[in-house]
């Protein structure tokens, strides 16, 4: 795996936060909240069944449902419908945890990765519900288990953070460079790998120097690779292509191609889990709409957004000013891949990596597409957004599939360069959801067809069997009919033989 040769990324945009941006890299701590809200739904929106019932009191770090861990000690008051941070603005069943203020955690034993097998480590990750903190929030244990089977595995620690406005990883690396390196090294060891790559964009020089200074000799196996600042090189498939040259087919996961891509914050939470601390919080970066000012905050999962915003407003005057000019909505995620959210009591989850406070830019009026292919040149996965748009706008999902809509990362580069300011990414989101919906209904139709085929086969078989029984019975009846005649014939013969004696 040639870590030094960086393959070119087709398209992509050189986006970096404004030069004079004031990024406050100190990680503030948010104090304990009176109540936490834990949605019972995972990243693929399947509903989770809780292992606890309302009224139980739990310790911090205790598993409440598969993939959900209590952020602090307290009692579970109820399970009710509560908003969650998702563009659908819907409510989902949520566990409400009232904290008792003691903030006591369940004690876990420290796992020494040199003696213990990988299975043991993966169980610990499973129990402490470690999720990817890069934005997609996959279940990390499954991801590592799938990657572990590969012989020559490549480990990439993704600290690229290419979208401007998101700088939680940057702050993490600036504050705790040594812990980051040790965590990377620990993972490299128990995955028995010779080396690992820590990919970082070259516009984060302070973090790079911090990492390089703390790189003690035994940590040199972690190769710190600087990538030119091109958005969206942080997404998994472009990053894998740039570092290893492997072109992932749409829908193919990096782990299938023998590459394990972990976010730097996830690596740290894995390391904490092995050291026995439950990973119940994450760093969220909050910035103003113009991305001039941003700050970073360590927030526990389940904390309502309202609390995070209030804390940020107190500690940063620019955010306070941006909030007042706002229409009570914030944006979750980065400027390009995020979505607007107005229900502020929705909780912070593993996938909430950034918040943007400030006036929301309405989409300006779109004019007709003149097929100038500016969008095609910036598309990082070499698609043709103008053809996809034409297909999506006239709802021809099969044509959109033929132009590989499923490979689209929804990164938003094409929206930025479109001279007719057409909302391409929202159209692609609609087309992707419509295609998934169509696939689900086709699958259901297929199940119904098989059931009806089984039903009609059984009915036919039953009819044939009845037919055969009918025939058999008739034959038997006919058979009996003949034997009755034989008996009568025999009787007549007997009568004829003895004319005198009996009559």
């Amino acid at each position: 795996m040639s870590s030094s040769a960086i393959h070119a990324l087709p398209g992509g945009l050189a986006l970096s936060a404004p030069m004079d941006a004031h990024i406050d890299a100190t990680i503030h701590e948010l104090d304990l909240q009176p109540s936490y809200y834990l949605p019972l739904i995972n990243y693929s929106r399947t509903v989770l069944h809780p292992e606890v019932k309302s009224g139980d009191c739990v310790l911090g770090g205790e598993q409440l449902a598969p993939g959900v861990v209590a952020p602090t000690s307290g009692t579970l008051t109820e399970i009710r419908q509560h908003p969650w941070p998702h563009p659908s603005h819907t409510q989902v069943p949520t566990l409400v945890l009232e904290s008792d203020g003691r903030d006591e955690f369940q004690q876990f034993t420290v796992i020494d990765h040199t003696q213990v097998g990988v299975e043991e480590i993966l169980n610990r990750l499973e129990n402490s519900a470690i999720h990817g903190l890069g934005g997609a929030a996959f279940n990390t244990a499954n991801k590592i288990r799938r990657a572990y089977e590969h012989k020559n595995l490549t480990l990439i620690i993704n600290a690229v953070e290419c979208e401007p406005g998101i700088n939680c990883d940057d702050a993490l690396m600036q504050q705790h460079p040594s812990e980051v390196l040790q965590a990377c090294n620990a993972i490299r060891q128990w995955l028995r790998l010779p080396s690992a790559v820590l990919a970082i964009e070259n516009d984060k020089q302070t973090a790079i120097t911090a990492l390089r200074d703390d790189q003690t000799p035994d940590l040199t196996s972690i190769k710190i690779t600087e990538l030119p600042t091109i958005y969206p090189s942080g997404a998994e498939s472009p990053l894998v292509q740039r570092l290893t040259g492997i072109k992932l087919q749409p829908g193919e996961r990096a782990t299938d191609a023998g590459v394990l891509c972990l976010n730097v914050a996830t690596v740290l939470s894995i390391h904490d889990a092995l050291m026995g601390q439950a990973a119940v919080d994450r760093i969220v970066s909050i910035s103003t709409q113009s991305l001039q000012h941003s700050m970073n905050l360590r927030v526990r999962f389940g904390t309502p957004l309202k609390a995070v915003i209030e804390f940020a407003r107190e500690h940063n005057t620019a955010i306070e000013a941006a909030w007042r000019s706002n229409t009570q909505t914030i944006r979750i995620g980065g400027p390009l891949s995020g979505f607007a959210m107005d229900m502020l009591n929705a909780p912070v989850l593993a996938s909430t990596n950034a918040l943007i406070v400030g006036k929301e830019h309405p989409l300006n009026e779109a004019t007709a597409c003149i097929r100038c292919s500016e969008c095609a040149t910036v598309c990082p996965v070499n698609l043709l957004p103008q053809e996809l748009y034409a297909a999506a706008a006239s709802e021809q999902l099969d044509t959109a599939a033929r132009y590989s809509l499923d490979a689209c990362l929804l990164c938003g580069c094409c929206d930025l360069v479109c001279p007719a300011s057409i909302p391409l990414t929202p159209w692609f989101r609609f087309a992707k959801d419509a295609t998934r919906q169509k696939q689900q209904s086709d699958a259901a139709a297929e199940v119904a067809r098989l059931l009806s085929e089984k039903h009609s086969n059984r009915v036919q078989r039953r009819a044939i069997e009845k037919e055969q029984q009918e025939a058999a019975r008739r034959a038997a009846a006919a058979q009996r009919q003949n034997s009755a005649q034989d008996i009568k014939a025999a009787l007549t013969r007997v009568k004829n033989k003895r004319p005198g004696s009996g009559s």
């Binding site: 034409a390 297909a391 706008a393 006239s394 021809q396």
Partner: protein, 163 residues
């Protein structure tokens, strides 16, 4: 016009026409040189050629019904319509006109048919793109197809006068 709303259908009809035309051109040339000229019954030419084309189309329909029912179902009426396609008859007549050998007659039939298929497929691709256009109400459907065909033939006017 009717078939060329999908590229696959247009290609289907194109291939069928190529098959018919090559066969018809050669057979008509044979009929012309070995039957009509000796009996100097030149005037029977048109009827003879139409008969040949009809036979060949029937044969193609049988083959197609046997082998790709979907294409047959889609082409439906347009397959027998090839017999009435004046271009097919014209090429057959031209093939025998220019005193060319059997081989060049066949090539002329084949070339004309490939041209026909190309235009058909181009037109089908064009119409498929028009499905996605936001065409004003009065022009939707066949109207826009005829206008596009008009402009397309306008482009071919450029070849007027090519010797």
């Amino acid at each position: 016009m009717g078939v060329s709303n999908r590229i696959t259908n247009a290609l289907g009809l194109g291939v069928a026409t190529t098959f018919v035309l090559t066969l018809a051109a050669t057979l008509s040339h044979l009929l012309h040189t070995f039957v009509l000229i000796p009996l100097n019954a030149e005037f029977l030419r048109i009827i003879g050629f139409i008969f040949i084309i009809a036979v060949v189309v029937q044969f193609t329909e049988l083959v197609m019904r046997r082998h790709s029912p979907l294409l047959h179902q889609v082409l439906g009426l347009y397959l027998p319509l090839i017999t009435t396609n004046c271009a097919v008859l014209a090429v057959a007549l031209l093939a025998t006109q220019h005193k060319n050998t059997l081989f060049s007659a066949m090539w002329q039939g084949f070339g004309a048919a490939v041209g026909f298929t190309l235009v058909l497929v181009l037109f089908a691709a064009l119409r498929e793109r028009l499905d996605r256009a936001d065409i004003p109400k009065p022009f939707q459907g066949a109207a826009i197809a005829f206008i596009t065909a008009g402009i397309f033939s306008l482009a071919f006017m450029g070849f007027a006068g090519v010797t």
